[in-house]
């Protein structure tokens, strides 16, 4: 079974260090895939973004997703980090990393995790722009991306 590491907090992370930690000491790992999400600053003059979450449920839901990934793909380690609090354009928000024997499992599990995290982990973004505060609305395209992973559909 894969080792699962979850972190939710205000602190920034070092993607290089997180990637190294995904395979350190495990010479059977042959592939690490990772995703880093950033605060995008070009739209509507976003000056800052504040992320809130539901402590407890967040960890529970990400844990469920990680267990699903671990049972669906052959993974050695999974790492998910999600920041909360106020962030600025260019800041890192989220890290998802997967380590596996081969790249196929690592790539697919990584994409599955970020797609489902976006639609089921209880985080909300409040954008602070020139015209005031605005709650970011959920996007149907994100839901469609997550739905692609349902196992009753034709999927790779």
């Amino acid at each position: 079974m894969a080792e699962i590491s979850l972190r939710v907090g205000a602190e920034d992370f070092d993607p290089g260090a997180e990637i190294a930690a995904l395979h350190r000491g495990n010479s059977e790992t042959g592939a690490v895939a990772s995703f880093v999400g950033l605060v995008r600053g070009d739209k509507d003059q976003v000056r800052a973004m504040t992320l809130e979450h539901y402590p407890g449920m967040t960890e529970k839901q990400i844990g469920i997703l990680a267990e699903q990934a671990a049972s669906r793909w052959r993974l050695d380690r999974i790492s998910v980090i999600h920041r909360v609090g106020t962030l600025l354009p260019g800041d890192r928000i989220v890290f998802v990393g997967t380590a596996s024997r081969h790249r196929g499992d690592a790539f697919q599990a990584c994409e599955f995790l970020i797609d489902w995290l976006k639609t089921s982990a209880p985080f909300w973004k409040l954008e602070q722009g020139d015209t005031g505060d605005r709650w970011v609305e959920a996007r149907e395209t994100d839901e469609a991306r997550a739905e692609r992973w349902r196992q009753d559909r034709e999927n790779p």
């Binding site: 999400g37 992320l51 809130e52 979450h53 539901y54 407890g56 449920m57 529970k60 839901q61 999600h82 928000i93 989220v94 970020i114 995290l117 976006k118 639609t119 089921s120 982990a121 209880p122 985080f123 909300w124 973004k125 409040l126 709650w135 970011v136 609305e137 959920a138 994100d142």
Partner: protein, 83 residues
């Protein structure tokens, strides 16, 4: 019963959580929402202003016909936007 609100709902209602004792007839999420709407104009407008209201019971996603118990933690929030 502990009720928690997030994001726009929390701001509109003005509190992040409240402890309530719904009457005996309020035994489902749907009935709870109807009852909470009678609490204050802020509750009513917050729920009615959230067209895709999500609910979690004891930190798991639930449906509106889910049955509730007195010691449940029920959370209401708009669709999530993390990642």
């Amino acid at each position: 019963m502990k009720i928690v609100y997030f994001a726009g709902l929390r701001r509109q209602i003005g509190v992040g959580e409240e402890i309530i004792e719904p009457p005996a007839g309020v035994s489902s999420v749907e009935a709870l929402v109807a009852w909470l709407k009678t609490h204050s104009p802020a509750h009513k407008s917050a729920f009615e202003g959230c067209p895709r209201l999500m609910v979690a019971v004891n930190q798991d996603y639930a449906d509106f016909d889910a049955k509730l118990a007195q010691d449940d933690e029920v959370a209401f929030f708009p669709p999530v936007t993390g990642g």
